[in-house]
Symmetry: C2
Subunit: 337 residues, 2 copies
DNA sequence: TTACATCTTGTTAACGTGTGCATTGTATGC
DNA sequence: GCATACAATGCACACGTTAACAAGATGTAA
């Protein structure tokens, strides 16, 4: 049996109403009374019953953080940074509940306004759309990360992937490369499409014709990047550079290149995307684009709390800048003719 | 305003008690009545108010997953695998709340039997002890992962780190190495101590004297591994092999070795611990020990649910086997004399 | 017919907290 | 000295659910 405000009330010789008010620092209560009550609460090691409070206030103190999936296709560093970012804002004020959308198997009945004060969706796939729509329909405060869909959700925060890829591919072009291959992620992922868009834009703005044979799909996994690169290594002539839509795939690609007896960046330059925690320590260190996942998550969480606590209705979409990290895996190509 | 069991009761022409029983599939209620009530509930899109239920049942439906820290010193893959493992068991039955112990700053008042039906601590440091003790004192159902302290907590699940390191270092010795350096993690982490123990045991059982100058500290970070290896590279004669207490540190160490113009495993063999997601794709692929983090987490979660639901009082400690993964970073040393 | 068991449903209270309204006591203004 | 304002506290109810107990209906055995 644990201590309630009624116990405190009895000891202090006041009503439980006064205790409730005192502990909530209501201006209605005399300072002396507050002090006395707080002292007793402290002494009895009182802690409020969240269920009771939630019931009467119609608030759950839960923030739901939903990933497309927890198990398949979510990279560890991505997951970790997201949780860190959101958690740093939510902290001890709300409980952070982590979930995979795919766990619900299409039946979202358990997701209600009462179970979640607000929801953050870290979206990675078009498959999330039904879930996002469901949450929006229930008018649960909502922030969508990593995805741009204004008509679906009011607040969106995402990295400017396209601009980031544009920057790194332009960098390759400036280093003299023109036969630049692409290893895509998962075609159904919006991020994959955006990154391809940046690649295509860089090529077209530098008047380099696109060549479909230079495009491969790696599925955002190491193994996939390895296999995709193996296919690209069959090409004649070989590409002089390859942009990989994730660092993990870049690691796989480099592995394939090394195995075929070639060097990076001597024979083939490689660039990635994400700046995974290990990327700076590869040999050669990987030139890549840093996605501010933690920043995005932090900003998203702040926006969500603003919506919940101050009612912040108007739509907005925030793009967070990426950062080009030039390291050693992209070399300069000397014109051969 | 959302629909409650009273609304359903009104529509069905029964009492709200009957509705409650029907929805909980109580044997007291006639099947026809149940069907009717379920149909109405379905039609009205009813979902129960968890706060109210929690209040009356004195259960929160929350499982707390606590890390020593979310931000500093927890590797992403470790974090991800843990959450995956626990989540796969907890699923939609309970809400999984992720927290860092360091966020509470020593004030655990918000952690009570009422806010958490059970708690899983993924322990990485001695600093967790006060928290674990607190939870145990409150007699909240508790499972501690990754840490062995029978008198503190009833149920412990952990990898047999020491045996795993013993195995990989013995492997190095069998390949002819005897001058084997060690890069430790964080000295305050129990895991770091256990791994060092395995290293020392392997040496002593093969009658190789320990040499303090061969021990360096890398703090479980890439940068730390890099710096530690730089120090080891000052030694004369050089070690012929180095065991790193984590794969991340191994990557840093390899980087330092390459920078000094040496090769792996030609000049120096390297082994790691963890089998991070990228380890198989390094060049050379890293020989390491796989810690079954996800398995540990899954088993721990199952144990916790057993305690919660079936009352499972007796103490037990489970060791989960590690797996030696022999890849390319440890070479054979030919005797020189 | 009566007594009793069984099946099904209803009545009422309880969980712990917050809040609208009433009540008491005290100071202020005229 | 009285009306009024204001500060501090208490009373009673509400939130949505579950459960102990009561109670009605129906069947059955004596």
């Amino acid at each position: 049996m644990s201590v309630t405000i009624k116990d405190i009330a009895r000891m202090a010789g006041v009503s439980h109403t006064t205790v409730s008010r005192a502990l909530n620092d209501s201006p209605l209560i005399h300072e002396d009374t507050k002090r006395k009550i707080r002292a007793i609460a402290e002494r009895l090691d009182y802690s409020p019953n969240y269920s009771a409070r939630s019931l009467v206030l119609a608030r759950s103190y839960h923030i739901g953080l939903f990933f497309s999936t927890l198990s398949k296709g979510t990279s560890s560093s991505f997951f970790h940074e997201t949780v860190k970012g959101v958690h740093s804002v939510v902290n001890t004020k709300y409980h952070l509940i982590v979930n995979g959308i795919d766990d619900y198997d299409g039946n979202y009945a358990a997701v209600t306004r009462k179970t979640f004060d607000g929801i953050i969706v870290m979206s990675q796939s078009d498959g999330d759309e039904s879930f996002i729509r469901y949450v929006a329909d229930k008018s649960i405060p909502l922030v969508v990360l990593n995805r741009n869909n204004e008509q679906l959700s009011p607040v969106n925060v995402l990295a400017d992937d396209k601009a980031g890829v544009y920057r790194v591919v332009s960098h390759m072009i400036r280093q003299g490369h023109s036969r630049i291959a692409l290893i895509e992620g998962k075609q159904s992922f919006k991020s994959s499409q955006a990154r391809k868009g940046g690649y295509l834009q860089a090529l077209s703005e530098h008047c380099i014709p696109t060549d479909e044979t230079l495009h491969a799909i790696g599925g955002y996994t190491l193994e996939g990047g390895y296999a995709a690169m193996q296919r690209l290594l069959q090409l004649k002539p070989l590409p002089t550079a390859v942009f990989c839509s994730s660092d993990e795939m870049a690691v796989g690609a480099m592995k394939a290149i090394f195995q075929s007896g070639l060097t990076v960046p001597g024979d083939i330059s490689v660039a990635g995307f994400d700046d995974d925690v290990f990327s700076a320590f590869l040999s050669p260190a990987l030139t890549t684009v840093k996605r501010p996942v933690e920043t995005i998550s932090r900003i998203g969480a702040e926006k969500l709390l603003a919506v919940i606590e101050r009612g912040f209705p108007h739509k907005e979409t925030l793009f967070v800048d990426t950062e080009l990290l030039i390291r050693d895996s992209v070399g300069t190509l000397h014109k051969q003719e």
